[in-house]
Symmetry: C2
């Protein structure tokens, strides 16, 4: 398999994808911010199951970072990333100006799905995500796009945007890929110090405990939530949320509610200075 072609302009990316489509190939897209790990590689493999011509975008999207977030220090390693992208036809690695033309004003807003979970902690984040993903879809024109379930709310929002904007793309979620010890893979794990790294296990351990309890018949939202929260609170420098929410609408369940539909338990917390996410779906 030849190495991917790396393009930096929307024009080149669109031309390559149009050519592939005109040859009858199905185009797949894996949008990433780079700093690729085995989780991303799994997304690429999933895309290849749905598409003949896989595009991986690598773009650290400024509009999804808040003013005090880690945009500047977000890990970047294009050369290393490209080496990991076996089976990818095109790597689309645009500059900011290629994605946000001079005078840019347009944002895609996702309404209520952005109000829950990470929404209140990251104002504007999901509008930034929805906007850049809409643009990537417009450039690449994928029939399938693959997103990781680790960013559960992002996946739900991208599905909503694709449905609502009548975009002809099948949005596919891929299960969380975990390290051997359970930690959900994330580019931000690179920030974890040797002291933080073992603490970070509390997220997956708490979620696995909640799943065990659920499998044993526990349906009280507050009890399931507390199983996760107790473990996480013990190690986290701060907890943004531990929430049991409806897996479709993302509306949180009250602690005294009973789980009757498919739910997600989602965690966001800081271990040291590193913000970590994890979640588990119970159904």
């Amino acid at each position: 398999m030849p190495p991917p072609i790396v393009v930096t302009t929307a024009f080149e990316a669109r031309a390559a994808c149009t050519a592939a489509r005109n040859e009858g190939q199905r185009v797949g897209l894996v949008p990433t911010m780079g700093a690729l790990h085995d989780g991303h590689v799994a997304l690429v493999r999933e895309a290849a199951r749905h598409a003949d011509f896989v595009v991986c975008s690598i773009f650290v999207n400024p509009t999804q970072f808040g003013p005090h977030e880690d945009l500047a220090r977000y890990p970047r390693d294009l050369e290393g990333d490209v080496r990991k992208l076996e089976g990818v036809a095109v790597v689309f690695a645009p500059q900011v100006t290629a994605m946000y033309p001079v005078g840019d004003e347009t944002r895609v807003d996702v309404g209520r799905l952005a109000e829950h979970l990470c929404g209140p902690f990251r104002p504007g984040h999901f509008a930034g995500v929805a906007t850049v993903v809409t643009k990537l879809f417009a450039v690449v024109g994928p029939c399938t796009a693959v997103f990781g379930e680790k960013d559960f709310q992002q996946l739900a929002i991208v599905r909503r945007v694709a449905t609502d904007l009548l975009l002809p793309v099948n949005v596919v979620g891929h299960p969380i890929v975990r390290e051997a010890d359970g930690l959900a893979m994330s580019s931000r794990n690179a920030y974890l110090t040797p002291v933080d790294r073992p603490k970070a296990l509390a997220l997956s351990r708490g979620l696995f405990e909640a799943r065990r309890a659920f499998d044993d018949g526990e349906r009280r939202a507050g009890v399931l939530r507390a199983l996760v929260h107790t473990l996480v609170a013990r190690v986290a420098s701060s907890v943004d949320y531990v929430t049991v929410a409806d897996a479709e609408a993302l509306v949180p369940l009250a602690d005294d509610a009973t789980v009757t539909t498919r739910v997600v338990i989602a965690v966001a917390c800081r271990v040291g200075t590193t913000r970590l996410l994890d979640n588990i779906v119970l159904a």
Copy 2:
């Protein structure tokens, strides 16, 4: 030329356009709300200059109407409309649920361009326009889309959205088509009573006077504005605005400013109960 095929689902519209594209035809789009008049017919003719396969959408888009606006009584006549659409391959006349799927949450927001002119008088209007146009583009996939310059701000916003979202569509503006006496054609002219109709001429007369003054060398924004405002205020039941604005950014010029760039003089007022728009570009 065969009469247009009328389709009501995004699926059918997309299939027809994809088939045309696959045969190497260029697809053009004229988005309308129906109640077609000679202005619309001119847009269709313009689209046919850029495209081999012209689609006309007819959709009274609820999200661009405010709660106290004329959504319910907006004129509707699909059969009559279709008869006027000679040279159109497909009429896309969707139901509301075809354009706004169950659970719809997504809006395309256009930032500062929506803050001026009609924006403050029609909160949410331009987000509704930008959203539905983005959807129509997603369904039809036009290489060219034609909009009338009568809705000058709408045209500027659609251009901005297409540029910002990296949509592969050429947005073409078509000059205002006027009745013999100067009144800008509009579906809402049908609301004008016999008493209102002659009054409505004040808009175009005022704008033509301003153009004459501009052509004679007048560059004081306030003087140009007053020429229009005086005539309009005499007949209007209310004046939303008479504004001299930069033709690109739509930022209003102060009355004591001098016109040095391309500007638009835009009017919105009510004659009787009918809200009318008109504008003229000076350069």
